[in-house]
Protein backbone atom coordinates (compact mmCIF):
# COMPACT_ATOMS: atom_id res chain seq x y z
CA UNK A 1 0.00 0.00 0.00
CA UNK A 2 1.35 3.33 -1.00
CA UNK A 3 1.69 5.94 1.73
CA UNK A 4 0.93 9.54 0.91
CA UNK A 5 1.88 12.87 2.48
CA UNK A 6 1.07 16.40 1.40
CA UNK A 7 3.29 18.51 3.67
CA UNK A 8 1.97 21.84 4.96
CA UNK A 9 5.28 23.61 4.57
CA UNK A 10 8.88 23.10 3.48
CA UNK A 11 9.99 22.22 7.00
CA UNK A 12 7.54 19.33 7.16
CA UNK A 13 8.60 18.35 3.64
CA UNK A 14 12.33 18.08 4.43
CA UNK A 15 11.62 16.14 7.64
CA UNK A 16 9.56 13.66 5.61
CA UNK A 17 12.22 13.52 2.89
CA UNK A 18 14.85 12.61 5.51
CA UNK A 19 12.58 10.02 7.13
CA UNK A 20 11.47 8.41 3.85
CA UNK A 21 14.28 8.88 1.30
CA UNK A 22 12.81 6.17 -0.94
CA UNK A 23 9.43 7.82 -1.37
CA UNK A 24 8.63 9.35 -4.71
CA UNK A 25 8.86 13.15 -4.65
CA UNK A 26 5.93 14.15 -6.85
CA UNK A 27 4.79 17.54 -8.15
CA UNK A 28 2.98 17.78 -11.49
CA UNK A 29 3.62 14.14 -12.41
CA UNK A 30 4.18 14.83 -16.11
CA UNK A 31 7.28 12.64 -16.12
CA UNK A 32 6.87 10.33 -13.12
CA UNK A 33 3.27 9.37 -13.96
CA UNK A 34 3.96 8.42 -17.59
CA UNK A 35 2.70 4.85 -18.05
CA UNK A 36 1.96 4.77 -14.30
CA UNK A 37 -0.08 1.57 -14.59
CA UNK A 38 2.94 -0.28 -15.98
CA UNK A 39 5.45 0.92 -13.39
CA UNK A 40 6.50 -0.35 -9.97
CA UNK A 41 4.15 1.06 -7.34
CA UNK A 42 6.04 3.53 -5.11
CA UNK A 43 6.20 2.83 -1.38
CA UNK A 44 5.14 6.36 -0.68
CA UNK A 45 4.42 9.70 -2.31
CA UNK A 46 5.71 13.01 -0.97
CA UNK A 47 3.41 15.44 -2.75
CA UNK A 48 4.95 18.87 -3.30
CA UNK A 49 2.31 20.10 -5.78
CA UNK A 50 1.41 23.72 -4.94
CA UNK A 51 3.64 23.79 -1.84
CA UNK A 52 3.68 27.55 -1.24
CA UNK A 53 7.34 27.95 -0.31
CA UNK A 54 8.55 26.54 -3.64
CA UNK A 55 5.94 28.26 -5.81
CA UNK A 56 7.20 31.77 -6.58
CA UNK A 57 8.93 33.98 -9.12
CA UNK A 58 11.03 36.73 -7.50
CA UNK A 59 12.62 39.39 -9.66
CA UNK A 60 15.76 40.81 -8.03
CA UNK A 61 18.34 43.33 -9.19
CA UNK A 62 20.78 40.87 -10.69
CA UNK A 63 18.80 37.64 -10.91
CA UNK A 64 15.37 36.06 -11.05
CA UNK A 65 14.64 33.32 -8.52
CA UNK A 66 12.09 30.74 -9.66
CA UNK A 67 10.64 28.31 -7.14
CA UNK A 68 10.94 24.63 -8.01
CA UNK A 69 7.16 24.20 -7.97
CA UNK A 70 6.58 26.87 -10.62
CA UNK A 71 4.80 25.43 -13.65
CA UNK A 72 5.87 26.00 -17.26
CA UNK A 73 2.62 27.85 -17.81
CA UNK A 74 3.56 30.27 -15.01
CA UNK A 75 7.11 30.63 -16.34
CA UNK A 76 5.94 31.33 -19.89
CA UNK A 77 3.34 33.90 -18.83
CA UNK A 78 5.57 35.90 -16.47
CA UNK A 79 6.34 39.34 -17.96
CA UNK A 80 9.83 39.63 -16.40
CA UNK A 81 10.82 36.17 -17.63
CA UNK A 82 9.57 36.93 -21.14
CA UNK A 83 11.43 40.23 -21.05
CA UNK A 84 14.69 39.31 -19.30
CA UNK A 85 15.03 35.50 -19.56
CA UNK A 86 13.71 34.93 -23.07
CA UNK A 87 15.33 31.48 -23.58
CA UNK A 88 13.49 30.11 -20.55
CA UNK A 89 10.18 31.51 -21.80
CA UNK A 90 10.85 29.99 -25.23
CA UNK A 91 11.62 26.59 -23.69
CA UNK A 92 8.53 26.76 -21.44
CA UNK A 93 6.31 27.35 -24.46
CA UNK A 94 7.56 24.22 -26.25
CA UNK A 95 7.59 21.82 -23.30
CA UNK A 96 4.70 19.46 -24.08
CA UNK A 97 1.56 21.48 -24.68
CA UNK A 98 -1.05 23.23 -22.53
CA UNK A 99 -1.88 20.17 -20.39
CA UNK A 100 1.80 19.46 -19.66
CA UNK A 101 2.63 23.13 -19.11
CA UNK A 102 -0.20 23.35 -16.54
CA UNK A 103 1.42 20.65 -14.40
CA UNK A 104 5.09 20.25 -15.30
CA UNK A 105 7.47 22.21 -13.09
CA UNK A 106 10.96 23.69 -13.31
CA UNK A 107 11.97 21.64 -10.28
CA UNK A 108 10.77 18.49 -12.03
CA UNK A 109 13.02 19.16 -15.02
CA UNK A 110 15.99 19.82 -12.71
CA UNK A 111 15.30 16.84 -10.46
CA UNK A 112 14.63 14.32 -13.22
CA UNK A 113 17.87 15.54 -14.80
CA UNK A 114 17.15 13.92 -18.15
CA UNK A 115 19.48 14.72 -21.06
CA UNK A 116 16.37 15.83 -22.95
CA UNK A 117 15.04 18.19 -20.25
CA UNK A 118 14.20 21.16 -22.48
CA UNK A 119 14.98 23.87 -19.92
CA UNK A 120 18.30 22.45 -18.78
CA UNK A 121 20.59 23.92 -21.48
CA UNK A 122 19.08 27.31 -20.54
CA UNK A 123 20.24 26.82 -16.94
CA UNK A 124 23.73 26.03 -18.26
CA UNK A 125 23.89 28.91 -20.73
CA UNK A 126 22.64 31.42 -18.17
CA UNK A 127 24.84 29.99 -15.40
CA UNK A 128 22.04 29.29 -12.93
CA UNK A 129 22.49 28.21 -9.32
CA UNK A 130 20.23 25.62 -7.72
CA UNK A 131 19.10 26.09 -4.11
CA UNK A 132 18.30 22.91 -2.20
CA UNK A 133 17.04 22.26 1.34
CA UNK A 134 17.22 19.44 3.84
CA UNK A 135 17.01 19.00 7.60
CA UNK A 136 20.75 19.78 7.54
CA UNK A 137 20.09 23.24 6.13
CA UNK A 138 20.29 24.88 2.73
CA UNK A 139 23.01 24.94 0.13
CA UNK A 140 23.51 26.37 -3.36
CA UNK A 141 24.93 24.33 -6.20
CA UNK A 142 26.14 25.85 -9.49
CA UNK A 143 24.06 24.22 -12.21
CA UNK A 144 27.29 23.73 -14.21
CA UNK A 145 28.20 20.98 -11.71
CA UNK A 146 24.68 19.65 -11.02
CA UNK A 147 24.43 16.79 -13.52
CA UNK A 148 26.66 13.83 -12.71
CA UNK A 149 25.54 11.34 -15.36
CA UNK A 150 22.47 9.89 -17.06
CA UNK A 151 19.55 11.13 -14.93
CA UNK A 152 21.76 11.61 -11.89
CA UNK A 153 22.63 14.78 -10.01
CA UNK A 154 24.29 16.15 -6.90
CA UNK A 155 20.93 16.21 -5.09
CA UNK A 156 21.32 14.10 -1.95
CA UNK A 157 18.68 11.56 -0.92
CA UNK A 158 17.47 13.80 1.91
CA UNK A 159 17.34 17.01 -0.14
CA UNK A 160 14.58 18.84 -2.00
CA UNK A 161 15.01 21.44 -4.74
CA UNK A 162 13.80 24.87 -3.59
CA UNK A 163 14.59 27.20 -6.48
CA UNK A 164 16.76 28.10 -9.44
CA UNK A 165 18.51 31.46 -9.25
CA UNK A 166 19.15 32.72 -12.77
CA UNK A 167 21.44 35.74 -13.29
CA UNK A 168 19.95 38.35 -15.61
CA UNK A 169 21.95 38.69 -18.83
CA UNK A 170 23.55 42.12 -19.12
CA UNK A 171 23.06 44.64 -21.91
CA UNK A 172 24.86 43.47 -25.03
CA UNK A 173 24.18 39.79 -24.28
CA UNK A 174 22.21 37.90 -26.92
CA UNK A 175 20.38 34.90 -25.50
CA UNK A 176 18.40 32.23 -27.29
CA UNK A 177 17.02 28.70 -27.15
CA UNK A 178 15.88 26.36 -29.86
CA UNK A 179 14.62 22.81 -30.09
CA UNK A 180 14.42 20.38 -32.99
CA UNK A 181 11.91 17.56 -32.73
CA UNK A 182 9.35 15.81 -34.90
CA UNK A 183 6.89 18.58 -34.07
CA UNK A 184 6.94 21.68 -31.92
CA UNK A 185 4.46 20.46 -29.31
CA UNK A 186 4.71 17.27 -27.28
CA UNK A 187 7.66 15.69 -29.03
CA UNK A 188 10.78 14.82 -27.09
CA UNK A 189 13.70 16.77 -28.55
CA UNK A 190 16.14 15.23 -30.99
CA UNK A 191 18.51 18.09 -30.23
CA UNK A 192 17.97 21.32 -28.32
CA UNK A 193 20.21 24.03 -27.02
CA UNK A 194 20.65 27.50 -25.58
CA UNK A 195 23.26 30.23 -25.81
CA UNK A 196 24.26 33.46 -24.12
CA UNK A 197 26.59 35.47 -26.35
CA UNK A 198 28.25 38.66 -25.07
CA UNK A 199 28.84 41.03 -27.95
CA UNK A 200 30.86 44.17 -28.48
CA UNK A 201 29.63 45.62 -31.74
CA UNK A 202 29.71 42.65 -34.11
CA UNK A 203 32.45 40.84 -32.20
CA UNK A 204 31.99 37.98 -29.78
CA UNK A 205 33.51 38.84 -26.40
CA UNK A 206 32.53 35.52 -24.86
CA UNK A 207 29.77 32.94 -25.07
CA UNK A 208 28.17 30.12 -23.13
CA UNK A 209 26.65 27.44 -25.34
CA UNK A 210 24.81 24.36 -24.09
CA UNK A 211 23.12 21.43 -25.80
CA UNK A 212 20.67 18.74 -24.74
CA UNK A 213 20.06 15.26 -26.19
CA UNK A 214 23.62 14.91 -27.48
CA UNK A 215 25.20 13.26 -24.42
CA UNK A 216 24.21 11.41 -21.23
CA UNK A 217 23.42 14.78 -19.66
CA UNK A 218 22.89 18.38 -20.82
CA UNK A 219 26.35 19.79 -21.55
CA UNK A 220 28.21 23.03 -22.08
CA UNK A 221 30.15 22.95 -25.36
CA UNK A 222 33.33 24.56 -24.09
CA UNK A 223 35.19 23.92 -27.34
CA UNK A 224 32.75 26.31 -29.01
CA UNK A 225 33.13 28.85 -26.24
CA UNK A 226 36.93 28.78 -26.63
CA UNK A 227 36.79 28.93 -30.43
CA UNK A 228 34.54 31.98 -30.84
CA UNK A 229 36.23 34.53 -28.57
CA UNK A 230 37.18 37.68 -30.43
CA UNK A 231 35.64 36.60 -33.74
CA UNK A 232 33.05 38.36 -35.87
CA UNK A 233 29.66 36.65 -35.69
CA UNK A 234 29.97 35.20 -39.20
CA UNK A 235 33.38 33.71 -38.44
CA UNK A 236 32.21 32.63 -34.99
CA UNK A 237 29.37 30.67 -36.59
CA UNK A 238 31.81 28.69 -38.74
CA UNK A 239 34.25 28.16 -35.87
CA UNK A 240 31.37 27.01 -33.67
CA UNK A 241 30.20 24.54 -36.31
CA UNK A 242 33.65 22.95 -36.48
CA UNK A 243 33.98 22.86 -32.69
CA UNK A 244 30.61 21.14 -32.26
CA UNK A 245 31.60 18.53 -34.82
CA UNK A 246 34.62 17.41 -32.81
CA UNK A 247 33.16 17.70 -29.31
CA UNK A 248 29.94 15.66 -29.21
CA UNK A 249 29.22 11.96 -29.67
CA UNK A 250 25.42 11.73 -29.82
CA UNK A 251 23.74 8.31 -29.84
CA UNK A 252 21.33 6.47 -32.13
CA UNK A 253 17.96 5.82 -30.46
CA UNK A 254 14.27 5.62 -31.33
CA UNK A 255 14.03 9.39 -31.72
CA UNK A 256 16.97 10.08 -34.00
CA UNK A 257 20.37 8.99 -35.22
CA UNK A 258 23.85 10.02 -34.23
CA UNK A 259 24.54 11.36 -37.73
CA UNK A 260 21.39 13.49 -37.82
CA UNK A 261 21.87 14.80 -34.29
CA UNK A 262 25.43 15.82 -35.02
CA UNK A 263 24.49 17.71 -38.16
CA UNK A 264 21.52 19.42 -36.51
CA UNK A 265 23.64 20.34 -33.47
CA UNK A 266 26.20 21.97 -35.77
CA UNK A 267 23.51 23.92 -37.61
CA UNK A 268 21.75 24.90 -34.38
CA UNK A 269 24.87 26.31 -32.75
CA UNK A 270 26.01 28.05 -35.95
CA UNK A 271 22.60 29.66 -36.17
CA UNK A 272 22.82 30.91 -32.59
CA UNK A 273 25.68 33.11 -33.80
CA UNK A 274 24.25 34.15 -37.18
CA UNK A 275 20.90 35.04 -35.59
CA UNK A 276 22.71 37.23 -33.06
CA UNK A 277 23.86 39.34 -36.01
CA UNK A 278 20.41 40.87 -36.19
CA UNK A 279 20.74 42.52 -32.78
CA UNK A 280 24.33 43.73 -32.61
Amino acid sequence: MTSYLRPRDLEEAVVARAAYPNWMVLAGGTDLMVNANHKPIPGGILDLWRLGEIGFIRVGDGAIAIGAGTTWHEVERHPAIRDRLLPLALAAREIGALQIQSRGTLGGNIGTSSPVGDSLPVLLALDATIEVASVRGRRSIPYSTWCTGYRTSLLASDELIVAAHIPLPGAGTWTTWRKVGTRRAQSISKVMGAAAIILDGGTVVSARVALGAVADRPIRITAVEDAVRGLSLARAAEAARAAVRTSIQPIDDIRSTSVYRREVAENLVARFFTSAAGVS
Partner: protein
Amino acid sequence: MKVTLTVNGAMHAVEVSPWKRLLDVLREDLRLTGTKEGCGEGECGACTVMLDGEAVNSCLVAVGQCDARTVTTVEGLARGDVLHAVQKALVACGGAQCGICTPGIAVCAAHVIDRGLVIGRDEPSARAQVRELLAGNICRCTGYQLIVDAVIAAAREVGER
Protein backbone atom coordinates in the same frame (compact mmCIF):
# COMPACT_ATOMS: atom_id res chain seq x y z
CA MET B 1 -6.46 6.42 1.43
CA LYS B 2 -9.75 8.27 1.49
CA VAL B 3 -9.91 10.92 -1.20
CA THR B 4 -12.71 13.46 -1.28
CA LEU B 5 -13.03 15.38 -4.52
CA THR B 6 -15.65 17.48 -6.24
CA VAL B 7 -16.44 16.28 -9.74
CA ASN B 8 -18.81 18.28 -11.95
CA GLY B 9 -20.19 20.00 -8.88
CA ALA B 10 -20.86 16.85 -6.82
CA MET B 11 -18.71 15.75 -3.89
CA HIS B 12 -17.42 12.17 -3.97
CA ALA B 13 -15.42 10.18 -1.42
CA VAL B 14 -13.45 7.18 -2.67
CA GLU B 15 -11.21 4.71 -0.84
CA VAL B 16 -8.30 4.14 -3.23
CA SER B 17 -4.54 3.89 -3.56
CA PRO B 18 -3.08 7.42 -3.84
CA TRP B 19 -1.09 6.11 -6.83
CA LYS B 20 -4.25 5.30 -8.81
CA ARG B 21 -4.60 7.59 -11.80
CA LEU B 22 -7.34 10.22 -11.69
CA LEU B 23 -8.40 8.85 -15.09
CA ASP B 24 -9.08 5.40 -13.62
CA VAL B 25 -10.90 6.79 -10.59
CA LEU B 26 -13.19 8.81 -12.87
CA ARG B 27 -13.93 5.84 -15.13
CA GLU B 28 -13.95 2.91 -12.68
CA ASP B 29 -14.94 4.33 -9.30
CA LEU B 30 -17.23 7.17 -10.42
CA ARG B 31 -18.39 5.50 -13.68
CA LEU B 32 -17.78 8.72 -15.61
CA THR B 33 -16.65 7.03 -18.81
CA GLY B 34 -16.80 10.12 -21.01
CA THR B 35 -13.11 10.69 -20.27
CA LYS B 36 -11.10 8.38 -22.56
CA GLU B 37 -7.69 6.80 -22.31
CA GLY B 38 -5.60 7.20 -25.43
CA CYS B 39 -1.89 6.77 -24.87
CA GLY B 40 -1.50 6.71 -21.07
CA GLU B 41 1.65 8.77 -21.32
CA GLY B 42 0.51 12.37 -21.58
CA GLU B 43 0.97 12.63 -25.34
CA CYS B 44 -2.51 12.53 -26.82
CA GLY B 45 -4.81 14.58 -24.57
CA ALA B 46 -7.82 12.22 -24.88
CA CYS B 47 -8.05 12.08 -21.06
CA THR B 48 -8.01 15.87 -20.59
CA VAL B 49 -10.06 17.14 -17.64
CA MET B 50 -9.99 20.40 -15.71
CA LEU B 51 -8.34 20.12 -12.30
CA ASP B 52 -8.78 23.24 -10.17
CA GLY B 53 -9.58 25.06 -13.39
CA GLU B 54 -6.48 23.97 -15.34
CA ALA B 55 -6.54 21.60 -18.32
CA VAL B 56 -4.55 18.49 -17.37
CA ASN B 57 -4.00 14.95 -18.62
CA SER B 58 -5.85 12.82 -16.07
CA CYS B 59 -3.59 9.84 -16.88
CA LEU B 60 -0.70 11.81 -15.32
CA VAL B 61 -2.44 12.78 -12.07
CA ALA B 62 -2.16 10.55 -8.99
CA VAL B 63 -5.53 10.66 -7.27
CA GLY B 64 -3.84 11.21 -3.90
CA GLN B 65 -3.12 14.68 -5.23
CA CYS B 66 -6.82 15.32 -5.81
CA ASP B 67 -8.06 15.33 -2.21
CA ALA B 68 -10.14 18.50 -1.67
CA ARG B 69 -9.66 19.47 -5.33
CA THR B 70 -12.23 20.22 -8.03
CA VAL B 71 -12.52 18.31 -11.31
CA THR B 72 -14.61 19.02 -14.41
CA THR B 73 -14.97 16.27 -17.00
CA VAL B 74 -16.71 16.30 -20.38
CA GLU B 75 -19.90 15.25 -18.56
CA GLY B 76 -19.75 18.54 -16.64
CA LEU B 77 -19.44 20.94 -19.56
CA ALA B 78 -23.16 21.19 -20.30
CA ARG B 79 -25.51 23.08 -18.00
CA GLY B 80 -28.47 20.69 -17.75
CA ASP B 81 -29.59 20.13 -21.32
CA VAL B 82 -27.73 23.16 -22.65
CA LEU B 83 -24.44 22.19 -24.23
CA HIS B 84 -21.31 24.32 -23.83
CA ALA B 85 -20.74 26.63 -26.79
CA VAL B 86 -17.86 24.49 -28.02
CA GLN B 87 -19.92 21.29 -27.83
CA LYS B 88 -22.62 22.94 -29.95
CA ALA B 89 -19.99 24.17 -32.39
CA LEU B 90 -18.34 20.75 -32.68
CA VAL B 91 -21.75 19.29 -33.56
CA ALA B 92 -22.59 22.10 -35.98
CA CYS B 93 -19.21 22.01 -37.74
CA GLY B 94 -18.90 18.22 -37.77
CA GLY B 95 -15.73 18.50 -35.69
CA ALA B 96 -15.45 14.79 -34.89
CA GLN B 97 -14.68 11.58 -36.71
CA CYS B 98 -14.17 8.39 -34.70
CA GLY B 99 -14.79 10.38 -31.52
CA ILE B 100 -12.16 9.02 -29.13
CA CYS B 101 -10.32 12.35 -28.94
CA THR B 102 -13.52 14.40 -28.81
CA PRO B 103 -14.09 14.50 -25.01
CA GLY B 104 -10.53 15.72 -24.43
CA ILE B 105 -10.81 18.26 -27.20
CA ALA B 106 -14.16 19.51 -25.87
CA VAL B 107 -12.72 19.95 -22.36
CA CYS B 108 -9.49 21.59 -23.51
CA ALA B 109 -11.33 23.87 -25.93
CA ALA B 110 -13.93 24.83 -23.32
CA HIS B 111 -11.08 25.67 -20.95
CA VAL B 112 -9.24 27.93 -23.40
CA ILE B 113 -12.46 29.60 -24.56
CA ASP B 114 -13.75 30.23 -21.03
CA ARG B 115 -10.34 31.61 -20.03
CA GLY B 116 -10.45 33.98 -23.01
CA LEU B 117 -7.18 32.60 -24.39
CA VAL B 118 -8.34 32.67 -28.02
CA ILE B 119 -7.81 36.35 -28.79
CA GLY B 120 -6.55 36.28 -32.39
CA ARG B 121 -7.96 39.31 -34.16
CA ASP B 122 -8.06 37.88 -37.64
CA GLU B 123 -8.74 34.39 -38.96
CA PRO B 124 -5.10 33.30 -39.54
CA SER B 125 -3.89 34.42 -36.11
CA ALA B 126 -6.92 32.86 -34.38
CA ARG B 127 -6.29 29.58 -36.24
CA ALA B 128 -2.62 29.60 -35.28
CA GLN B 129 -3.54 30.28 -31.69
CA VAL B 130 -6.12 27.49 -31.51
CA ARG B 131 -3.70 25.04 -33.10
CA GLU B 132 -1.09 25.85 -30.47
CA LEU B 133 -3.54 25.78 -27.54
CA LEU B 134 -4.90 22.42 -28.71
CA ALA B 135 -1.50 21.00 -29.71
CA GLY B 136 -1.72 18.57 -26.78
CA ASN B 137 -4.85 16.93 -28.24
CA ILE B 138 -4.13 14.49 -31.03
CA CYS B 139 -6.82 13.33 -33.48
CA ARG B 140 -5.68 10.10 -35.10
CA CYS B 141 -8.31 10.56 -37.80
CA THR B 142 -6.48 13.87 -38.50
CA GLY B 143 -9.75 15.76 -38.74
CA TYR B 144 -8.27 18.95 -37.40
CA GLN B 145 -9.72 21.55 -39.78
CA LEU B 146 -13.32 21.16 -38.66
CA ILE B 147 -12.27 20.97 -35.01
CA VAL B 148 -10.36 24.25 -35.34
CA ASP B 149 -13.35 25.79 -37.18
CA ALA B 150 -15.60 24.78 -34.28
CA VAL B 151 -13.31 26.16 -31.58
CA ILE B 152 -12.95 29.49 -33.38
CA ALA B 153 -16.71 29.72 -33.90
CA ALA B 154 -17.36 28.98 -30.23
CA ALA B 155 -14.70 31.44 -29.06
CA ARG B 156 -16.31 34.17 -31.18
CA GLU B 157 -19.77 33.36 -29.85
CA VAL B 158 -18.63 33.39 -26.22
CA GLY B 159 -16.57 36.56 -26.81
CA GLU B 160 -19.58 38.39 -28.26
CA ARG B 161 -21.83 37.60 -25.30
